[in-house]
């Protein structure tokens, strides 16, 4: 592959809505700090997410190299997004643990876990399900068996 491996200077993680990368925060400051070409990333990201539903949040992991170049990887949307979709709510409960925002079923959890598995191929589906259930709890979303 590359004749000389490049040293990594930073790994940047952020979440951007599909097709909506702009130089403004959070993209601008995050990439600007590492000296990366913000415009180039925005244009590339927007074109690659042009086929996705707009406003779907896309987590991005950017690897910045010592020569100011970068590569990036897009992942599946955050678990919280999937849960909100499944439960048909806009946001989690204001008082998780006390007030319940909505309910989702065990089947929903399993579907979400399957989607997320592409991001963490080393984790067992069981472990991912438990992690999703944990996120539900932190959002005040109740899990029911039906």
């Amino acid at each position: 592959m590359a004749s000389k491996a490049k040293a990594v200077t930073a790994t940047i993680k952020l979440v951007i809505n599909a097709g909506q990368a702009k130089p403004a925060p959070p993209v601008g400051p995050a990439l600007g700090q590492a000296g990366l070409n913000i415009m180039s990333f925005c244009k590339d990201f927007n074109a690659k997410t042009a086929d996705k539903k707009p406003e779907i949040p896309v987590p991005v992991v950017i690897t910045a190299y010592s020569d100011k170049t970068f590569t990036y990887v897009m992942k599946t949307p955050p678990v919280t997004y999937f849960i909100k979709q499944a439960a048909n709510i806009k946001s989690g409960s204001q008082r998780p643990g006390h007030a319940v925002a909505a309910e989702i079923s065990v089947k929903n959890i399993f579907d979400i876990a399957q989607q997320k598995q592409q991001d963490v191929p080393d984790m067992s589906i069981d472990a991912i399900c438990r992690s999703v259930a944990g996120t539900c709890k932190s959002m005040g979303v109740k899990v029911v068996s039906a």
């Binding site: 491996a5 490049k6 040293a7 990594v8 200077t9 930073a10 790994t11 940047i12 993680k13 952020l14 979440v15 097709g19 702009k22 130089p23 403004a24 925060p25 959070p26 993209v27 601008g28 400051p29 995050a30 600007g32 700090q33 590492a34 000296g35 070409n37 913000i38 415009m39 180039s40 925005c42 244009k43 927007n46 074109a47 690659k48 042009a50 086929d51 707009p54 987590p59 690897t63 190299y65 590569t71 955050p78 919280t80």
Partner: protein
């Protein structure tokens, strides 16, 4: 007269407001203890901005405070006036940066994910170098290896309660944050960093794009001067280059053409066409910053009188921007229509863009990947002949002639 009146009142009750004290070089001498009954947040911010002003260039927090002070002067020194000042000063945009130092490599990733899920706008992981320690190089070999000790930096909005997030994160992950620091990052800082990275770019032989503070390496070439800002279109991207190259190759035929640049961004394509001899150009964009940037860049190249910059609605149901400026002088159809946007809008705008082109006129569509060309071509095929595309680095420019 107002100044003198104000100066007198200022020195008696509000000594810090004496206008002559507000020269940037003297802002550092503003003493916060002289500001009676000013909210602590404003005091702190004023002191910060004052400190920042000596290092900053013009058009920065210092001038922001100056303009806020001028507003105050106009509003009069009263409770209402001071409220205006406090409101304006607190609107200096900034973000909060929290650096968490000396985290073990294993914890860095979970920590980053956790911070993101609890409200960080972005998280950056770098190597933590204790003073005197050598650098540890990590290479991208797909193993996902990270440094042994890391610094995890989160960017948060100015209203975020970072202390609470740090607490939650430590509880959830069962780790201890031993060292951390929080600082304000004014927007100007990264905007400047971005601007500093621009260099003169040669698009092709004889055509250069030059930032307005640089000299062109080739004074005999066609040089497009740009004031790089936050609008898309610095000339570095393949799509911009493809469009510019197309125009440049036909610069003899562009004389007296009427051009529309839909999604103009910085206005680079419209300005280029005008410099090559087009009679007039219309540039439209959904972003008001872009509309302003296009006007400014046109003026910079002395073609401001031939460019009309308009804001248009992001929705296709919105009004046709050209129809809104209809007049006897304004052509409603164009010899060249350029749209360097994205696949989605290009498909949605097909009827509008098709209508803009005169029979025999040219359509340029870009901002699409080569893989997206087929779908876009299908949409426009019905009205355009001779459709072909050129590619650069997996980006494509699709052109056609209106039938």
């Amino acid at each position: 007269m107002l100044t003198r009146q104000l100066g007198l009142r200022a020195s008696k009750r509000w000594p810090f407001l004496s206008l002559k004290n507000l020269q940037s070089s003297q802002l550092t001498t503003v003493s916060t203890s002289n500001m009676p009954k000013v909210a602590t947040g404003v005091k702190r911010r004023c002191a910060n901005q004052a400190a920042a002003s000596t290092a900053a260039e013009s058009g920065t927090p210092a001038s922001f405070v100056l303009s806020a002070a001028r507003e105050l002067a106009d509003a009069g020194v009263s409770a209402a006036g001071l409220a205006t000042y406090a409101e304006k000063a607190s609107r200096i945009p900034f973000l909060l940066r929290c650096q968490i130092l000396d985290i073990s490599g294993d914890n860095a990733n979970p920590l980053a994910d956790c911070l993101l899920s609890f409200g960080a706008l972005s998280v950056s992981t770098e190597e933590y170098k204790a003073p005197g320690q050598p650098e540890q190089e990590v290479f991208q070999d797909g193993s996902g290896r990270t440094w042994d000790r890391c610094t995890v930096t989160g960017l948060f909005s100015s209203e975020h309660d970072i202390a609470q997030t740090l607490q939650i994160v430590q509880d959830v992950l069962n780790i201890t944050v031993t060292q951390h620091q929080i600082e304000e990052v004014p927007d100007q800082e990264w905007v400047n960093a971005m601007k500093d990275s621009y260099q003169p770019t040669e698009v092709c032989k004889g055509l250069w794009i030059v930032p307005d503070w640089c000299e062109s390496p080739d004074p005999n070439a066609l040089n497009i001067r740009m004031a790089p800002g936050l609008a898309f279109g610095t000339g570095e991207h393949s799509t911009t280059r493809l469009c510019l190259q197309w125009l440049f190759d036909r610069r003899d035929k562009i004389q007296s053409a009427h051009v529309i640049d839909y999604g103009t961004g910085s206005g680079v394509l419209a300005v280029a066409a005008l410099l090559m001899g087009a009679a007039s150009a219309v540039g439209t964009d959904v972003d008001p910053l872009a509309v302003k940037a296009a006007k400014d860049n046109a003026a910079l190249n002395s073609v401001g009188d031939r460019l009309v910059a308009l804001q248009c609605s992001p929705s296709v149901q919105g009004d046709d921007p050209v129809a809104c400026i209809a007049s006897s002088q304004q052509p409603m159809q164009f010899d060249i229509c350029i749209a360097n946007i994205l696949r989605g809008p290009l498909l949605d705008l097909q009827p509008r863009l098709t209508a803009y082109v005169k029979p025999g006129g040219h359509l340029l569509l870009s901002g699409i990947l080569v893989s997206q060309v087929a779908k876009v071509q299908d949409a426009y095929q019905g009205n355009f002949a001779d459709m072909q595309y050129k590619e650069e680095n997996s980006w494509a420019l699709l052109t056609g002639v209106k039938q």
